[in-house]
Every structure is written in structure tokens, then in C-alpha cells.
């Protein structure tokens, strides 16, 4: 448990991705089975341990501390696991290193017995650890340690430390179970790569490059097919033998939150690539915000499913039955997709239509008119492109619409992370509106409409940082409020209604286009201008 605790401490305080990867790699290589596998599980899909931790801790804490002091402490610290870790009495005799429970012992003890027995086991573990060990123990059992490591980063670190490609792990990941001993045997070079057998698994996703101006002369319209890129999230559906998984583009299994999609593909035997959307009656696609209501959840209620109905719009077919289509040209896979979908027609799904065009200019004309349709972008796919993992040069291009721009006023600045941690590099900006309920002569106020941390050079960052520091009106933690005196020309892809923002709107993909040092803040745009840009609910484009 000590090395795991050291790992979590290191991950929690290190902001650099590369250092996190190095810490993880060192841990996986230095730790034996099954503990390293349990640690990997804790950082990815969670441990197969289900205990009423909150209740067990409440019971234990009553024995060691006055409830009023416990509550005061809990309120101050803000996190139950950390409060318990700090409050638990240190036992008198310091223990020899290595004399602490293994992760395996913890998992085993938390998997069997009555709640009372498990509570007792938890007590002996807490007794055997120091504060950082106790914290790691509770984060291990409680799931989601929140140390700034995504499941994908944990898998990447594992792959890198053994000189493998992360795709090789991702392809079999979802057929593996914690503590992943077969996986580690393969990485150690003492066994073959585990065979996923009949279980549906993730296949690394093919990604597109944004198209640049100097790409165009090299491309010939006849070589490409075009399709709309819808404003949802890219998913992969793998179905086999009645088991259905839906994966994010990073290979995370998100199916638990979308039972309706799982039932829809229950009879299928395929691996398909598509876009997950919230789609309402009459095939109208809801704003991205609606989809967000359904993401990052472990479970879902019937009401959520009614209010935010999920739908998958398919782009590609990677496997049909046992047949791997990935080496076939895109246009062949497309024909297979169409035929397969016409024959099986899984509910809650349709196809993203190809956009017919003769020339790029004609396509561009179609494209500019598509702004009103709430489409996120246009994809250009080489007709003969095989389906390959990652961002392969020259095969697929993502053509985003020319951005909209507005002049916004800087309101808050926040310190960045990693190399930017000494710079105020994350900016929240707003536009003017008339103060609400202030009568006819009410003045104006700024309301935040977005946040951006890109679109400027290092030099500009330095100047911005200096401006923030000299124009601070108030600071709270890493955030500073500034006087309304600096205008950003902000570029963004779309504006949508958002109940979560005070202004009622949210920008999609905002970035700083230009810093308008010259422009008086009073001349920045107003909320009404933004409201007029709100993307109407989109209609599928035929």
C-alpha cells in the first residue's frame, strides 16, 4: 500500500503529463502481481469492490472521535476520505516498511463477509497505515481517486513503459478483467497477447487532421467523399453475442449510461463508428449541452432517457460479423455499412449521409449554407483510405466552418497549469447587457459568455499576464477579477443556449482570435448580438 500511496501522492501533485506517465511506468514495472493490476483497475475502470464505505466510515469514526469535532473537521477539509485519513489515530509503534497491507489483501477483505466483518477489516487496515496510506486505501476502495489521471492516460503510461503501442492494449482492454494478470504476463514477455475471445472490444479510432490552406492544392475532389460531422461525441459500438459496448474515442466504455443504445444493437454483430447525439422527435438534433447531461454518469434514470433521448448516427463499419473490414477502402466499407444497416436496421440509429459534390468549390458553397443547420463540421475522407488507428496524414480531413467572431471583454483570469502555472493564462470574458430589473436608466454590466486558453503567442501571454496583474480588482485562490478594460476578438464555432451560464448562452470552441489592445471596452459586443447567433435546432441535411 505504501508504494501505491506514494504513486497517488505523486500523481496528485504533479501537473506534467510526462512526469505522470513516468511515475506510473515506474510503479507498474516495480510492483508485482496482483497489486499492480489492482492499482491499474483503481485508475481505470474501478475495483470490483462494492461496499457501503460512507456508512462503514461513519461507524468507525464514532469509535475514535467526538462527532462534533468530526463534523467540524469534515466541513473544513471538504472530503470524507481525507478527513478520515487525517483523523484516524496513529498507532504507537512505527511499523517497518513493507509491513502494510497489500492491495490484494484489501480487495479480498472488502469482497467477502458481512458488512460488520468488512468494517472490522477496514479498521485493521487503517490502523496499519500512515495518513497518506490511509488516504490511498480509502480512495482505492471508494473508486475514482481523482489524481488527474484519465483511464486513457493510465493505459498509455502502461503501454509506454513496456514499449508497446497503446492501441495494442486498447484493442483487448475491454475483454480483460482486473487484476489483469494475463495482460502483465504479455507485457513482461512471458506470454502471448491475451485473446479477447468472443467479447466485444474497442478498436483504436481513426482520426482526421484539420484541413489547412496549403492542403487544398494537393487534393483532388475526385479522390474524396464528404460527410457531415455532427455535433455530438464520436463513439464506437462493438456488438457480439448479445453483448454491446459503446466506447468513447479514448476507449472508455460509456455503455452503462446508455442502456437504450445497448438494447438497440443487441442483435448485431459488428464494430461501427458513429456520432452519439441527443435526438428529439422529428429527427431534430439537440444542442451539445443536452448530450452533456447524459455523459460522465455511471447510471441513468428513465427520466433522463426520456428527456435526453440518445441516438447514434453511423459513419463507418469496421467489422461485420467476424470479418475485419478495416483494410478495405473507405468507399467499400461505406457500401457495406449501407447494406448492413438496410438489412439489420438497429433502432435509434441512422447513417450520416454522404454529401455529393463535383468540386471543392461546390462543396464549399454547400458548406457555407450549412451554417444554419448546426453541423459541427465537414469530413473529407479519401475514398481509398483504410481504417487506421490515430491521425494518419493525408487520409481524413476535418473541415470546420469559418469561425464567427465577437468582441468580448476580459473579466477573470486564472492561473494555468504545468509550464503555465506562473501565468494567468485561462481567460473568462463577457459581453455587455443592460442590468436586469434596473429600470429604463439602468447601466450596463458584463455577463460571462465563455472561457478560452488558446489563440495567443507566448509573447502575448506574457503581455496578457502583466495586464492581468496590474489590473486586478480582486483575487480569490488562483483566479483574479480584472477591471473591464481589455477586449478580445473571440472566435467560436457556434453559440447555444445554456441554462448553466448566467448569460443563458454558451460558445462552442471559443479561442482568442486577436487581442484588441486598441479597442475601448465600452465598444465591445452586447448580449443581444450573441443571442441572434444562437444555432437553431438542426435538421438533418439530406
Amino acid at each position: 500500500m505504501e508504494t501505491f500511496a506514494t504513486l497517488l501522492d505523486g500523481l496528485a501533485t504533479t501537473q506534467s503529463r510526462n512526469r505522470k506517465v513516468a511515475l506510473l511506468g515506474r510503479y507498474f514495472r516495480a510492483t508485482s502481481d496482483p497489486d499492480r493490476g489492482w492499482a491499474l483497475a483503481a485508475l481505470t475502470d474501478g475495483l470490483p469492490v462494492r461496499v457501503p464505505l460512507r456508512r462503514m466510515l461513519a461507524d468507525l469514526m464514532l469509535r475514535v472521535i467526538d462527532p462534533v469535532l468530526y463534523k467540524m473537521s469534515r466541513d473544513y477539509v471538504g472530503d470524507t476520505a481525507e478527513t478520515v485519513a487525517l483523523l484516524w489515530p496513529d498507532t504507537a509503534a512505527p511499523r517497518a516498511t513493507g509491513d502494510t497491507p497489500t492491495l490484494d489483501a484489501v480487495v479480498m477483505a472488502m469482497s467477502i463477509g458481512t458488512i460488520a466483518e468488512r468494517t472490522e477489516a477496514l479498521r485493521t487496515f487503517l490502523d496499519a497505515l500512515n495518513p497518506s496510506g490511509r488516504w490511498a486505501l480509502l480512495k482505492l476502495i471508494g473508486g475514482a481517486p481523482r489524481v488527474g489521471v484519465s483511464a486513457r492516460l493510465a493505459r498509455t503510461a502502461l503501454a509506454e513503459s513496456y514499449g508497446r503501442d497503446v492501441g495494442e492494449i486498447e484493442e483487448i482492454w475491454h475483454a480483460l478483467d482486473a487484476p489483469y494478470e494475463a495482460l502483465f504476463r504479455w507485457l513482461d514477455g512471458v506470454a502471448d497477447r491475451p485473446d479477447p475471445g468472443l467479447r466485444p472490444t474497442f478498436r483504436p479510432v481513426m482520426l482526421a487532421h484539420p484541413i489547412e490552406d496549403d492542403d487544398w492544392p494537393k487534393l483532388s475532389a475526385a479522390d474524396f467523399a464528404a460527410e457531415w460531422k455532427w455535433d455530438g461525441i464520436r463513439v464506437q459500438i462493438a456488438a457480439r453475442g448479445g453483448e454491446v459496448r459503446m466506447f468513447s474515442r479514448q476507449g472508455d466504455d460509456i455503455s452503462a449510461a446508455f442502456p437504450e443504445i445497448r438494447s438497440a444493437f443487441m442483435a448485431a454483430n459488428c464494430v461501427a463508428d458513429g456520432e452519439l447525439l441527443v435526438m428529439r422527435a422529428g429527427n431534430t438534433i439537440a444542442p451539445f449541452n443536452d448530450l452533456q447531461q447524459r455523459l460522465n454518469r455511471k447510471t441513468v434514470t428513465a427520466k433522463m432517457m426520456r428527456d435526453y433521448p440518445a441516438h447514434v448516427r453511423l459513419y463507418d463499419l469496421l467489422f461485420e460479423g467476424g470479418e475485419d473490414l478495416r483494410a478495405s477502402p473507405f468507399i467499400v466499407r461505406r457500401q457495406r455499412l449501407e447494406a448492413w444497416h438496410a438489412h439489420n436496421h438497429p433502432p435509434l440509429s441512422d447513417l450520416s449521409d454522404l454529401v455529393a459534390f463535383e468540386t471543392f468549390n461546390a462543396l464549399s458553397a454547400l458548406w457555407s449554407q450549412a451554417r444554419d443547420d448546426g453541423i459541427e463540421g465537414l469530413m473529407l475522407k479519401r475514398r481509398d483510405s483504410a481504417y487506421q488507428a490515430g491521425r494518419v496524414r493525408g487520409q481524413w480531413f476535418k473541415w470546420k466552418r469559418a469561425a464567427l467572431t465577437l468582441d468580448c471583454v476580459l473579466m477573470y483570469a486564472q492561473r494555468g497549469s504545468g509550464k503555465r502555472s506562473s501565468f494567468y493564462s485561462d481567460y473568462t470574458f463577457g459581453v455587455w447587457r443592460t442590468k436586469p430589473d434596473g429600470g429604463p436608466n439602468a447601466g450596463d454590466e458584463l455577463v460571462p459568455v465563455g472561457k478560452a486558453y488558446s489563440g495567443f503567442t507566448d509573447d502575448e501571454l506574457r503581455q496578457l499576464d502583466k495586464w492581468v496583474r496590474t489590473n486586478t480588482t480582486e483575487s480569490f485562490g488562483p483566479v483574479r477579477a480584472v477591471t473591464p478594460g481589455l477586449v478580445f476578438e473571440v472566435a467560436f464555432d457556434a453559440v447555444q443556449r445554456s441554462a448553466r451560464h448566467k448569460s443563458g448562452v454558451a460558445m462552442r470552441f471559443p479561442r482568442i482570435h486577436r487581442i484588441r489592445w486598441d479597442k475601448p471596452a465600452t465598444e465591445a459586443d452586447r448580449l443581444e448580438t450573441i443571442l441572434a447567433l444562437i444555432t437553431p435546432i438542426s435538421q438533418p441535411v439530406a
Binding site: A12, T13, T14, Q15, I65, D66, V68, L69, M72, S73, Y76, V77, G78, D79, E82, T83, L86, L87, D90, P131, W135, R415, S417, K419, S421, S422, D465, R469, G477, P478
Partner: protein, 336 residues
Amino acid sequence: MTHAVDRWLYPTDQGLYCAPGGFYIDPHRPVDRAIITHGHGDHARSGHGAVLATAGTVEIMKVRYGADCAGSFQSLAVGDALTLNGVGVSLAPAGHILGSAQIILDYGGKRAVVSGDYKRASDPTCAPFEVVACDVFVTEATFALPVFRHEIAAGEIAKLLASLATEPTRTHLVGAYGLGKCQRVIKLLRQAGYDRPIYLHGAMVALTGLYQRLGVDLGDVRPVAGNDAKDMAGGIVLCPPSALGDRWSRRFGDPVNAFASGWMRIRGRARQRGVELPLVISDHADWPELIETIVATGAEEIWVTHGREDALVYHLASLGRKARALALVGRDEEAE
């Protein structure tokens, strides 16, 4: 003849006042006569008429505020006693920082001890705390929550040295309070065998120099100014906590930000400040030390000043002690 202590020692707008003695203790506004527990800014201020304190505290005040920051200075050695208008005044070490003292007041057959800030853990830069039996004990409460149990400082220093060994090319910026904490960290590093030059942010140079003049051997310490960042790479630089992640820190490239403070016990505090290497080193008593000390004084009444009074007052009541919060203005959360 005995008087209840709160008849002759009580808080006023200027600070804690001893009425028969005609003096204040750690007043936050200029007064005629002041007794100062120690040199931290929330206790020692400039502009008083006459100041009584340990020689160390007097020197600290002169360095911080200038030689004429008070009308007159009188230093009193720990263990010596004097009488001011019938009030017996003597000092005992508080173990907080160099020169820090508890102020012992005897009047009307009762004894009150105003401890200022204190700790029980050992500190090579100052004399250790002494328990003084008394009727009223005035205690601080900076870390008065049971979650605060400080680590052993030498172990935290070992963490810093281990980090230097694993990240030998990155400069280690150690945020530390400029008076007391900074010099204690340096001394602990020397005791741990670290003998390379230690670099100081400009704000720490004068007080560190004073510690050395007063006989605390801190080895080779140099101001950051005038040194090339390349020469300091992989070394230790001490700076005020506010300089961590500030523009000043950019010259060090990609430093390891460390912070030596009792607050580092709480993860959220470290995260908030972007601290990569939290070092739980405190110059204040932690929760067990507070309770142990208060009980050891045998005081019937405990007055609690700056910090988290509620938990301490609650807990002392449950131990059968009379405790109350003493509303003193001008004491912020200790910049520790």
C-alpha cells in the same frame, strides 16, 4: 487579596490590556507601553512608545521596521523578572521563533500566561517551550482542529532532499514564511547534511542575516539576485509563499514548487497553490500539542485567540475546562 483575572487583563480596541500595569500585550495599534511576545507582523507592530520584549524580538523589530520603530526598547531576558506598577512580569520561551516568549503576569495572587504563538516540536533556531503553571492561559488556535497533526520536521526535510535527488536538474523553490520558518528550514537542511549554497529571495535576506548575527549558523546562504539561474539549477531557493508561481519564479524555468507550512497537511491547500512538494513543517502547535500544553498548565480558564477557536473551546469544555474565545482584532490567519 485576589482579583478575577478578567478584571485586570482584558481585550480592548488596541489589544489585550493589563489595566493595573498600564501596558498592552501585542497591541495591533500604537500604544504607550507594549510587551511583545515575538516578532511576527500580527504581534509586533511599529509606532509604540515603550516596548518590552526579549533581546531577540527587539532586534527583529529593528530589522523589520527600523531602529526607531518604537520610542524606547527594553529587553528582558527569559527567566528574569520585573515589576510594572505592581504587576510581576517575567518571560518563558515559547518555542515559536527566535526570541519568542510567553509573558507571565502575576497580580493579586493570580497568574496569567499569554503565550503568543507557540509550538512543542523541537526547533534548532530557538529555545524550547516551557510549561508554566498558571490560572489563566491565553493560547493561540491556528491549527486547532484534530486533522492537524504536524509531521516530524526532519522527515519533511528528508522528503525535500529525496526530491532533489530524483529531480537533480530542477531548482527547488521552497515557499516559507520569511521570519522563523525560512531560517528553521535552512538549519534543518544543514543538520541533514546539505552543504551546498542555499539561495534566498530578496525579502528574506535581512532577517536571515540577523539570525546569523545572533549566532544561528546557517552555512553558505546567498541572495538570488546576482546569481545566474543556471548556477542555481538543481539547488534550493527559499522564497515567500506569495512568490511561488509568481513572475519572480520564472527565472528558474520549470522549478519544483515546495511549500513548508502546517497548512500543507490539507491536500486542497497544496492543490490551490499548485504546490508539487508539500512539506508539513509548522511553527505552531498542532492539535495534540495544544491540548497537551493547555492541560499541563493546569489553568482553570483558557482564553483562545486567533484561529479556529470553536473546536478548541468545544473540546476543552468537554474536558471540563472553562474556555472562551477572546475576540482580538487584527489577527489574520497566520501566514505560516
